[in-house]
């Protein structure tokens, strides 16, 4: 299975541990990746606040590049996926697409409306299939209780993200956690907002959201939280210390990127997964999994 790989800015920026772990997992599960090195940022919904048309042009540009390769796009970020899905729906309108193509002509590109973008989570669950993932597990994550945290842009708007056609996406993360041998921990915050988008605007509210979700998951017995969104990771991991200060309680809940959790179960070395890069130590997760996992960190 071959994909046009769109790693996004943060997997090589604020979360440099995500890119290598995602590539390692892709290789392990047999995905062939051709990176879209010339593609730009999606705009993350932020650029769109001041210029939505420019945002659609940037994403159409990426879609045109993938179309040229004849490959579906693989994303590893809920936000990239959501913003692309939203642009994809708007660009179905032929007249609008032609206006955007007028801009893309500058670089000799044109988008025909055929691109497909898919998050690694959906590829693992839908294209590879959980039975095959299960069969690839060499180190079942037995005894590990993991709280899923989807990231808003991978769940809403559900119509834009294909939930009507694929209602099973609703529990994709929980089912993947189970397939890896771990136990999913249900908590109300799993599809709520992590607060990252307002971090520079209203840090108090952003940190309050971190506190609420991590504490909630912890109180329900989670040993770790897993997220397919690196922006959620930046807040849930990066600002958890501030959140603890706010609620005056010890939380220390390790936040894992999706490919890190998958990688551990597939026997990828924790060092390759860069598990030592988090602000909240992931060591308790490795300790729980036993000596094989700890080796190499």
């Amino acid at each position: 299975m071959k994909f046009a790989f769109f790693p996004g800015c943060v997997s090589r920026g604020g979360c440099p541990e995500l890119y290598p772990s995602a590539v390692a997992v892709a290789r392990k599960v047999g995905l062939e990746l051709e990176e879209l090195t010339g593609a730009s940022c999606t705009g993350a919904g932020v650029l769109q606040e001041s210029n939505p048309f420019l945002g659609d042009c940037l994403n159409a540009r990426t879609f045109a590049m993938a179309e040229r390769l004849g490959l579906p796009i693989l994303t590893i970020c809920s936000t990239c996926q959501g913003v692309m899905s939203q642009a994809h729906v708007r660009l179905r309108d032929e007249a609008y697409r032609e206006r955007v193509n007028g801009v893309l002509a500058e670089e000799g590109l044109s988008y025909r409306g055929q691109a497909q973008a898919k998050h690694l989570l959906w590829v693992l669950v839908e294209d590879i299939g959980l039975e095959r993932v299960k069969a690839m597990v060499v180190r079942p994550l037995r005894g590990l209780r993991v709280a899923p945290f989807y990231g808003c842009y991978l769940v809403r708007p559900s119509k834009v993200l294909g939930y009507d056609e694929r209602p099973e996406r609703l529990r994709a993360l929980e089912r993947l956690i189970e397939a890896l041998g771990a136990e999913p921990v249900d908590f109300p915050g799993k599809t709520r907002c992590c607060g990252f988008p307002i971090l520079t605007i209203n840090e108090g509210n952003a940190v309050a959201m971190v506190a609420q979700h991590t504490l909630d998951a912890k109180e329900r017995g989670a040993d770790a939280m897993v997220t397919p969104c690196p922006l959620c990771h930046l807040n849930l991991d990066g600002y958890q210390v501030k959140a603890m200060g706010r609620v005056k309680e010890r939380i220390d809940l390790p936040i894992l990127h999706l490919p890190q959790l998958v990688g551990l179960a597939l026997g990828i070395d924790p060092k390759t997964l860069r598990l030592g890069r988090h602000l909240i130590s992931a060591a308790p997760v490795l300790e729980r999994l036993g000596p094989v996992a700890v080796k190499g960190v």
Binding site: C15, G43, L54, D237, K242, R277
Partner: protein, 329 residues
């Protein structure tokens, strides 16, 4: 079809009031709505169950409540669509509003915010003899936002209101947009100034929860985004929110990728010492773990051509350098 409604109940007059779950099982028609079932429970099983409803046609907005954890209108929701394979569904009062009794919440905070955005027309100039007349086309783009029935579903599920009750919230801000974008209104500039204050448009996390639950297609978050865009176009750029989006766009337009190190610096301003010092503890911890972007930010290959594309997009943009002229985003 047999269904079981797990209803979240609360009686303030109980000796020790606290919320609890109560289950009601009943036989219903395949076409029955959640409201049909609740009314039957109240009429035939348990007359103490409190709920609000009126039109039963998704017009009055009285019966908003959380069904399976998500706010919606009980009259618009068919049981067959929400009952699990075991026939069970949960019914709770709306979130983010104080519960009065069972499924009835106090809507006062919601109304107070609708008043706070001055959700009424403020025309300028001499009063016409008859009505304020506008061409039909000038109002068409407001059709969706005027569909709002003030049910409060968006308020219930807003992720910001969960942590900060002072946020104006999706319903009031959608209403605010409705007047900003009304060609008859004359207070646009003052309104935008007010809506960009703390607790206003920039406090929204863009989480899409309001868009997801709105039963009338108002898409409140999209209206908040349109207000942001109009506020920037009107010159309200000296807020962290506006500075953040403008800095983000500038950085991406320059190198094709986001320069994450420069984004907070540009947002806060290079001389904004207190804010920059505030970033230090997290920055130091991140650097110690090497969880940080490279200080040498690399542009995407072919960035010169990319920048030409951006320039062309800016020229072709409907909002290029001027205020948007309405239109649903």
């Amino acid at each position: 079809m047999r269904v079981t409604l797990k209803v979240r109940r609360y009686n303030p007059e109980a000796p020790h009031p606290r919320p609890y779950w109560q289950e009601y099982s009943l036989e219903v028609e395949q076409s029955a709505t959640v409201l049909d079932a609740l009314l039957r429970i109240r009429e035939e099983v348990d007359e103490s169950l409190a709920l609000r409803c009126s039109c039963r046609s998704a017009i009055c907005g009285s019966c908003a409540m959380r069904i399976n954890g998500q706010a919606t209108l009980a009259c618009k929701t068919r049981l067959a669509a929400v009952a699990g394979q075991d026939g069970v569904l949960t019914v709770e009062p709306m979130g983010n509003l104080p519960v009065v009794k069972d499924l009835v919440v106090d809507m006062a905070p919601h109304w107070q915010k609708v008043r706070a955005v001055e959700a009424w027309l403020q025309p300028t100039g001499p009063e016409p003899e008859g009505e304020y007349l506008v061409p039909n086309e000038a109002m068409l783009h407001l059709a969706e936002v005027m569909n709002c029935i003030m049910c409060g579903a968006c308020v219930s599920d807003c992720t910001v209101l969960e942590v900060d009750p002072t946020f104006l919230g999706p319903a009031a801000l959608a209403k605010a947009y409705r007047f900003v974008a009304d060609p008859r209104d004359g207070a646009t500039k003052e309104r935008l100034g007010k809506y960009t204050a703390p607790g206003g448009v920039w406090d929204c996390t863009r989480c899409f929860a309001c868009v997801e639950v709105c039963p009338k297609g108002v898409a409140p978050m999209e209206r908040i985004m349109a207000l942001r865009e109009r506020a920037i176009a009107a010159g309200y750029t000296d807020t962290y929110g506006a500075r953040h989006t403008l800095a983000f766009a500038e950085l991406v337009e320059h190198s094709g990728r986001l320069d994450e190190l420069r984004l907070p610096l540009k947002t806060f301003g290079y001389t904004n010492v207190p804010q920059l010092v505030g970033l230090l503890p997290v920055a130091v911890r991140a650097l110690a773990r090497r969880k940080a972007p490279s200080p040498f930010h690399k542009p995407i290959p072919g960035v010169a051509a990319f920048r030409r594309t951006v320039r062309r997009a800016r020229q072709a943009s409907p909002t290029a350098g001027k205020q948007a002229t309405g239109g649903s985003r």
